[in-house]
Symmetry: C2
Subunit: 343 residues, 2 copies
DNA sequence: TTCACCATGACGCCGCGTAAAGGTCA
DNA sequence: ATGACCTTTACGCGGCGTCATGGTGA
């Protein structure tokens, strides 16, 4: 075999004849010989060189860099490769970000390009640094804009500003059906802040699905999640019935003991106590906790206060007993509350 | 404000004057007016249009597509957006693959571009469809080639062909120091095949680190992993001492009972029994298991056979008892073995 | 003669930066 | 008069495909 012509080489190497000539014009290869009439003749050595070029190109080197790499023996690869790694990472990051944006556009099911533009603007505003812009975007999202639900969910799960977060929760409450399911994924986040925002957002939705999720939250290992869920469930009592609410009561009582949103918790308990099926249960729970709390602890006074709003015999008896409590504050409070009840 | 000139617009929109003129030449915008001397004058409406163009461009639309989208009201976005999503995904996949290749090149710490070319060729061959090419690559990797250890590890963890897998394990055994640690990640894989290949590869390495990992494998929930580790540990007995080997014994006995590599397991036990600190322990283990095994089960015969190779008094006594076993096969075997021992 | 192949040279694509050569405004 | 603007026209980059025009070989 004297030498291959350019077509053979193109077929064997997968590099088009056009590119073989182009490589030559850049000085990357030079066929070993030419026939009498000027046809290029490539040797096996040339073929190897071509494969080397293709190898380096497959790493993303430009043709210029391939030339430098193959010609200068002193040209060390370490830095160039490190640079390629960095650039590739950056490209992947950019493309990934683009992909989520595109998916959210798709998610919003825009009817025309006007819709697309609105969604893009919305996404941009939701990702803005300025709380004001985020706020306006959240309010707009509650309107008749085609809405990328996932983007709203993501925003609600990561929004630090309480006002904006409120607007986002409201927007989510107006939005489609499987919002609760998407929010629920935030409950499993590693970030406690995300978990709290997830439960608060679910609490803002009043569908049965949201209620069911909140009930699941009562067994969460995250105390913040449990308590948020309990408060939310208490306010939708009517829809649940006494049976579904018994699990809420101990969580609310814990909140009073730990002085975490204790006022809200006490209000919630008093509201629940309007349900005759729960009154005695709640009163008994509070009384038990009073007995368990260490003498002189401030928790006992808060529990006593909470008891005041619970009707029924158990409460009256407990208050009577407490009016002679060792803790002076508790005794005074109980006495006072008893007097109020007598009127 | 009568109208902004191109420089103002460029500053406000972030689009260079050059591109504003380019957009115009493509028919994307047309400034509302011109001054007497021909300066472009942009209206607020024009500005909005420019932002719209930029919005669509930010999604990856070509300038041509932007034009189509903004001009034809009937041009629905759904398909185009879906296409962009697909293309973006493909690009990310390609870039990701490139990134791992680059990282592996980097990992091999090539001194010059010759090294890089060798590594590229090696990676290509390791990823080849042809088992023959993979085999040759694995053999080459054991040589003086600059080696991307991660690539070898990945190949060893996913190699279906047993011959190639063997060559890869051998190459890994010659390779750098933290190979065992990298292989160990395969132990946590979801794929049982990967787990098995991981433990077999670790078993091919005789450093202390590998031995320690194998010892951890004895408590793996994956029975295949446990057994592979036990076999491997048994053959490196000397380095471990009696204390480190006691955990191996029950695993090997299980293998005999379950007829999984039972011959290898029995050989391993007999080799271990050469250690006087283990002899009685092994014999006792086998005898206990014999007692536990249901009468007439084939496992009893295999256990009896295994017992034959264990020296010491416990074995002799056990064989004597077994020679009157209810199971005819067991009794015959035991009698025969006893006779052999007597010689 | 036909057909497959070779040669060189040139244009287009896409999204821009940059520059040249000249006019306008405060 | 200076300097900051504006105008149009054109080239270059990178990595090719493609086409035109003409010659070669079996």
């Amino acid at each position: 075999m004297v030498g291959m012509r350019i077509g053979d080489v193109a077929r064997r190497s997968g590099v088009s004849a056009r590119m073989l000539r182009h490589y030559e014009s850049l000085g990357l290869i030079e066929p070993t010989g030419r026939t009498g009439v000027g046809y290029r003749e490539y040797s096996e050595e040339d073929i190897r060189r071509i494969f080397h070029i293709e190898s380096l190109r497959s790493l993303g080197l430009s043709l210029r860099d391939v030339g430098r790499a193959l010609d200068n023996p002193g040209f060390a690869p370490a830095e160039l490769v490190a640079g390629l790694v960095r650039q590739t990472r950056e490209r992947i990051a950019r493309e990934t970000e683009l992909l989520t944006r595109l998916q959210r556009i798709d998610d919003a099911e825009p009817g025309d390009w006007e819709d697309v533009l609105q969604v893009v603007a919305l996404l941009q505003a939701l990702g803005s640094e300025s709380a004001g812009r985020r706020q306006r975007a959240a309010l707009a999202a509650a309107g008749p804009v085609p809405m990328p639900v996932d983007a709203l969910v993501a925003a609600a799960l990561s929004e630090p500003d309480p006002n904006v977060a409120g607007a986002l929760r409201w927007a989510l409450a107006q939005a489609g059906d499987d919002v609760p399911r998407r929010l629920a994924r935030g409950l499993a986040s590693e970030d406690p802040g995300v978990r709290e925002r997830a439960v608060r957002s679910i609490a803002g939705i009043s569908t049965d699905e949201a209620t069911a999720l909140l009930r699941d939250c009562l067994t969460s290992p995250d105390v913040v999640v449990r308590r948020r869920a309990a408060l939310a469930l208490a306010t939708r009592g009517a829809a649940l019935g006494s049976r579904g609410l018994t699990d809420v009561i101990p969580v609310l009582i814990d909140m009073i003991v730990d002085e975490e949103n204790d006022v809200d918790a006490a209000d919630a308990l008093s509201a629940l106590a309007a349900d005759p099926g729960l009154t005695e249960h709640i009163a008994a729970g509070l009384v038990t906790r009073l007995a368990d709390s260490g003498a002189g602890s401030p928790a006992r006074r808060r529990l006593t206060q909470a008891l005041a709003d619970i009707p029924g015999g158990t409460t009256s008896k407990a208050l009577a007993a407490l009016s002679e409590d060792d803790d002076r504050g508790v005794a005074v409070t109980a006495t006072y509350l008893l007097k109020l009840r007598a009127d």
